[in-house]
Amino acid sequence: MTIRVDRRKFLMGSTALAAAGAMGVMPAWAQSEDLRLIFWGGQARADRTNKVTDLFEQAKGGSVQSEFLAWNDYWPKLATQTAGGNAPDVIQMDYRYIVEYAKRNAIAPLDEFVGGALQLADFDQDQLEGGKVDGKLYGISLGANSVAMLMNVTAFEEAGIEPPTNDWTYDDIMTMGEAFKAANVRGGMKLIADGSYNEPMLNNWLRQKGKELYTADGKLAFEEADMVEWFKLWQTMRDAGVCVAPDEQALDTGPLESTMLVSGKAALLPANSNQLVAFQAIMQDKVDMVGHPRIAPGAGGGHYRKPSMFFSVAASSANKERAAEFLNFFISDPEAAKILDVERGIPCLPSTRDVVAPILDEQNLIALNFVSNLGDLLGPLPPPPPAAAGEIDLSLLRVIGQEVGFGARTPEDGAAYFVSEATAILERAA
């Protein structure tokens, strides 16, 4: 049997195939008014965002193609696209990464558009500062949030204990925790999750002592003795059964449903103010929030209004002006504001806040009031964390916190190891 292949036909076919393959990996021929947008978040955020991109298309023409991923998948994808010179025009950016992206010229400074496409005259000053790297504006904050202690109000009612207020202290954790233990609700629910390796909670505690996690030039801004004190503080709570046991705490791997609050193992959980909505959505019990505990009555300044996320513009974007227009629309258009409300944090333009305030639901109103009324809990914005902060959090603080929790290291040993390893990681990354 002979099957003859006509060479000319074969070549034509394979050329067509090769061409089709090449088309697939080439960026779509970008017309000047088309934008691509990438952000992290869940379906709820995507629905809101896509409604706003539709609005923008109707108002200004052109098209906005958006894609979204979960936080963990987002950064590898963004880094890969950036490496391939194919980054989307508009990029959702986090406080943790903005310095790294700006310093490597992966995102563009936006100063040339301020006053033109970007109207920022009334924009909250601290939120504007938060988006600056070396004095240049690289990100527009989409909202402010703060760390907060989420609390299961229903569980407190069952235990017959008054829930904490913004004046509560670390000492109160002990007394309240003992009372909570005595009440024995829901088969031994503990008062609070183990926060010993919760980086924002450690940061809040350090700030109340007048220190920080990191200095502006990316070094550790606290002493080994602080770390010993911190680990001992939590060891006392752990030994007293005030916070959850280490093997329970290790079940928390990040997703909301694995947290001690949702799994019903603790009544208090350190988290962020804008997360109340998401927690309430998956919990039967009533959830409210309060500030982190004070280190002593009257101590404050631990909290800060963090830019919860930014929009930045890719340095490789061919449509920076258009992208800046989109950013302006996103933060200031009243219709867009109604759709977005405070899901990304409290809006930074007063005019937008005025549009949003009357239509907020209960949880969002709690979040808005909490962030607006921090009072003496509020301190200045810390410098952006160094590039290695994520690694120190994930692969050092977490591990050593667990080692101390399980008794594999003493607080002294853990603190010493933490400081030496963190210093080494920071030096290697510098």
Binding site: M1, T2, I3, R4, V5, F10, S14, N72, W75, P76, A79, T80, T82, A83, E100, Y101, R104, A106, P246, D247, E248, Q249, A250, L251, T253, G254, P255, S258, G390, E391, L394, S395, R398, V399, Q402, E403, F406, A408
Partner: protein, 314 residues
């Protein structure tokens, strides 16, 4: 199928001996053309990335800026100044050393059971194979979390006997064992291969042995095992490589962290963290090449020792 008629001109021998290249073109080109789809994939998607990764393993590369040549620094740091490398190596070796023999023993036991001519064999075979199909999936890893958590199925069962179990999956003393149990549970594919191997053993050998008064155990040790060694060897190699590469269960169960206390920090998980968590593509590439070398050494060692214990009946 449309087959074109062959014209006489095609059948006639080439008029003249043409150049070597022309001959190669006429003789081999069609073959390569047919190979082309696979060849493009092999060169572009396997060899290309491998060569790139080898190059990157000698660089510092964070994806955002161009790779920077650092010589053997990545390899030197790995061997001299990276405790996490050794932690992940220890975890992976522990996993390989315990999961592979246990899994093979379990697979063989089930295969022996199924080989006794029970009714409905195809059904049982399919049922026992099922975990292998599901095992590496995300859903099973999540299920495992539920079963071995503090208030999971296992502890509810133990509670019936008054035993209060720990949270197996998040206790550093047991977490790796839950992953080993998960791996053993996926015994399906070696079991199927064992079953085929058992079918190859001539029945008359057993008959002769039992006439001579050999016990069942003695028959197993003296007949079944020696004749099955080629299959054991094959399964051991495949399963060892699989165990070294194991990633998904640890990734899902620990949320990608290798926690608690790095007790489930598989080598592959550490590699993933370095590459996609901390964007050290150069270092991660070096880790990948060390893993490749390690698997290669293990396999070569198995082949070298095989002549002392694998019996081919030829």
């Amino acid at each position: 199928m449309a087959v074109q008629t062959v014209s006489p001109a095609d059948l006639s021998p080439p008029a003249k001996q043409t150049s070597l290249w022309s001959r190669i073109w006429h003789n081999d080109a069609p073959g390569y053309l047919f190979l082309l789809p696979w060849l493009v994939g092999f060169l572009g998607l396997t060899i290309g990335p491998m060569v790139t990764s080898l190059y990157l393993s000698f660089t510092d590369f964070d994806l955002l800026t161009a790779p920077e040549w650092v010589g053997a620094n990545n390899y030197i740091r790995m061997l001299t100044n990276d405790p996490k490398f050794w932690t992940s190596m220890r975890v992976t070796m522990f996993f390989v050393i315990f999961s592979v023999p246990l899994k093979l023993a379990f697979a063989l036991a089930v295969a022996m059971l199924l080989n006794r001519g029970i009714r409905g064999l195809p059904l049982y075979r399919a049922l026992f194979y099922l975990p292998s199909l599901l095992g590496a999936s995300v859903a099973i890893a999540i299920l495992w979390r539920q079963i071995f958590a503090g208030d999971g199925l296992v502890n509810k069962f133990l509670a019936m006997f008054g035993i209060i179990g720990p949270s197996w999956i998040s206790n550093p003393n047991y977490s790796l064992w839950t992953l080993i149990v998960l791996s053993i549970w996926q015994f399906g594919s070696p079991m199927i291969i064992f079953l085929a191997g058992l079918r190859q053993i001539p029945q008359d050998m057993y008959e002769a042995a039992s006439l001579d008064g050999a016990s069942k155990w003695r028959q197993f040790v003296k007949i079944t095992l020696p004749l099955l060694t080629p299959v054991v060897f094959f399964n051991a190699i495949i399963q060892t490589i699989e165990a070294f590469k194991s990633f998904t269960p640890a990734f899902i169960i620990s949320g990608g962290t290798g926690n608690p206390i790095n007790s489930t920090l598989f080598y592959t998980l550490y590699l993933y963290q370095e590459a996609f968590g901390f964007f050290r593509m150069g270092y991660a590439s070096a880790l990948a090449w060390v893993l490749l070398a390690l698997v290669g050494v293990f396999t070569a060692f198995s082949f070298l020792t095989s002549k002392y214990w694998v019996h081919y009946d030829d």
